[in-house]
Amino acid sequence: MVNRKWPETWQEVNPGCMVFEPGSASEYHTGTWRSQKPVWNNEKCIKCGICYIFCPEGCIHEGADGYFSADMDYCKGCGICAHECWPAAISMVEEG
């Protein structure tokens, strides 16, 4: 009953398909879904944290300096953060 991340054979399947690594979904990178990405202009940022609280991916983090940034491995580019940032410190730009 080993718990492997990638069960290949039937013998490697956990009894009951239990998953013992909480939050392991983070191994799947949803960043590839993105066509636009948020770009922060910290000069306009008032460090309110609104972008952080409204991100459905929970991928916006506060840095040591109090400014916020998104983890691009997960950001799906929905644009909520840019839409909700009322000093307009975030803009959505085309990927690529």
Binding site: R4, K5, W6, P7, N14, C17, V19, E21, P22, G23, S24, A25, S26, E27, Y28, H29, T30, W33, K47, C48, G49, I50, Y52, I53, F54, C55, P56, E57, G58, C59, E62, D71, D73, Y74, K76, G77, C78, G79, I80, A82, H83, E84, W86, P87, A88, M92
Partner: protein, 319 residues
Amino acid sequence: MKKANEQGHLVTDFDLYAPKLVEKEEYFSSGHRACQGCGEALAVRLMTKALGRDAVIACATGCMEIISSNYPFTAWKNPWIHVAFPNAASVGAGVEAGLKTLRRKGRIADRRIKVVSMGGDGGTADIGIQALSGAMERGHDMLYVCFDNEAYMNTGIQRSSQTPFGSSTTTAPAGKVSSGNKRWKKNMPEIMAAHGIPYVATASHSYPLDFMAKVKKAVGIEGPCYIHCYSACTTGWRIPSDSAIKVGRLALETGVFPLYEIENGAYRMTVEPPKKRRPVNDYLKLQGRFRHLTPDQIDIIQERVDEEFEKLLKKIKHS
């Protein structure tokens, strides 16, 4: 003091920096597979933040289950169980009974662990209402959270009893002779309140602090609690992926989805809508699901929303 931003949002100063005070830990991990800008996923994320570590979650089949638990991965950091579509409440009730006995018998640590059952509007108000009603009536120490995106989204936007009047869905589509769904939303918070449970509330991802405070309050209450959380669905509502928060805010400002709580029978508005509520059309016109509505139909909706809002105000006044 209130300030408007470029998009015309209203944010009170008091709330402005509050997100900084919110639990930093994420209990619903990135890498979940909800659509871009999914309001329901955001609502779930906020709920888990408010719950913190000591909660067990029983989840119904639906979008939130499918997008979060693709074996061998899980987005959940709380202990989590999914069994089927209609029974999140009874699975949660069983977990609660199990933990309670084991704690009483000293087989697990003597620590209160809140059991939370959750489902979509279909899993809650339709197929799951029997299990939910039973669990609430029996008085289990549990919280049930309904994430209401107003249709069966996981199976492709079919109508539910929570689909609003006039909304076009795949089983109640707007057509040549139909303007979409013909019925008004079944009033789930009232049905739950009629169970005489200690706490019932509505909530919305667009008011995260209000929602989280309600989850925390429910966790603190011993006994069955119910929260009905507005959860915008970008795909099913045909709204741009950046608009979930905005529609939720408009739902409040138009009176379409008021935020209130019923604590031991006493009603209280928890987020006041503007003195002069915005016309419902401001809410409807943003969403593809309502695009076909005629001005007459919009008037009918306006009338109903006003009527329901007045009823709610009366209950608040008299409690």
